[in-house]
Symmetry: C2
Subunit: 228 residues, 2 copies
């Protein structure tokens, strides 16, 4: 590292491995390096932690949940990559839902699939242009079914979750999703719930539920009922 | 990798290192692994190539330039990371401009700084929510100065370019940028040129030029004139 004598700007640089924007990210990188030991090196894990943090920081307005969401996002992306590499078992089909904002359609599809599949699929969701936060009408429409979106958050589409998927279902995100050989792609034509009142969001939600039930049936899985 | 007997969905999965969404990405990963040999392992380079591709694919509408832009983006991000780690020399100050769309303000700032610094700084730019393409009025306002934006494209803010920067200048992107210790941050208050006619974009451009000249002077660099 060359120090620029006219500016002194390079002082404090060139200290590899010492610099994190938040102390909890250093701890997270260390924890995940242990968790994924034998699968990924420390450099890959550090890249995922800092990349996931920056990816969420770019768009999230609710910074209060940033640490918890970064932990979930980085852990899930590393898990997906390990699955794609065959280093972690994938006992049930992996389904990825992608919409534009990951604030409405793909979140409803994910939580409904989780609820209706009875553990027989694993689900992820992402957005091509993630919103600042979940659509409140969507949260209300899901909550009134007795389902929980409290830990969900909009996140950018990354190649690892696509690689880990057996089926990718896109909803209004155009051709924003990488096409991997060996992965099935489907597109669901659904109204975007952004800015719609809850009465109309419920109609979209019920359409998604129907689509999910057909999807599960097609996978040989009998949809369960919802919790009562 | 467990094969799901009810669905057969896992067939074709579990072939580590064999799957790329585009053949040119495999070649790019191989080239960059050679170029950054001794600095980064093949896994890190592959992650950067596929991550950069997915990051641009999410938002870019002009898919014709996707291959060239992915090459530029992945190469530049790996270079930035190598600089941040002290593995590549950084002989001049690194300046990063960040706005929301990376389609107007940060692009004008980058090209003007490049033109006025006479090689005495190195410049990058990024956006917290990158646009589909550059703002055409911005391209026109820059082109009429004899400067070139033909190879510029909107790209998402990533932590590597922040880590490599000595100075980060934000413009209307809120607190979307990671704060690293040892990096200087400034915010420029500028009108967003989105949807403005060229007459108003020229005013913003000239304000940015003034800001850039002050920035350079503050770094001990005498601004050059623009090409005639």
């Amino acid at each position: 590292m060359t120090d620029s004598s006219t500016t002194g700007l390079r002082a404090g640089k060139g200290m590899p491995g010492l610099s994190y924007p938040e102390e909890y990210l250093r701890r997270l990188a260390s924890e995940l390096t242990g968790k994924f030991s034998g699968i990924f090196g420390a450099e890959t894990v550090e890249r995922y932690v800092l990349g996931s943090y920056t990816g969420l920081l770019r768009t999230s307005t609710v910074k209060a949940h940033l640490a918890a969401n970064t932990t979930r996002f980085a852990t899930d992306r590393l898990t997906a990559l390990a699955q794609a590499k065959g280093a972690i078992e994938t006992p049930v089909p992996e389904v990825l839902f992608v919409c534009e904002q990951n604030a409405g359609r793909s979140q409803m599809a994910a939580v409904l699939t989780n609820a209706l599949a009875g553990g027989n699929v694993h689900v992820r969701s992402a957005g091509s242009a993630p919103a600042h936060e979940l659509n409140p009408a969507v949260v209300a429409a899901i909550t009134e079914l007795g389902l929980d979106l409290s830990e969900a958050f909009p996140k950018p589409l990354t190649d690892d979750v696509v690689q880990a998927a057996d089926i990718v279902i896109t909803m209004g995100c155009g051709d924003a999703c990488p096409v991997y050989p060996g992965t099935r792609y489907r597109d669901w034509d659904l109204t975007d719930p952004a800015d719609l009142p809850i009465e109309e969001v419920r109609i979209i939600r019920d359409q998604i539920r129907k689509n999910v039930e057909e999807l599960l049936t097609g996978l040989g899985i009998t949809p369960t009922g919802l919790p009562t």
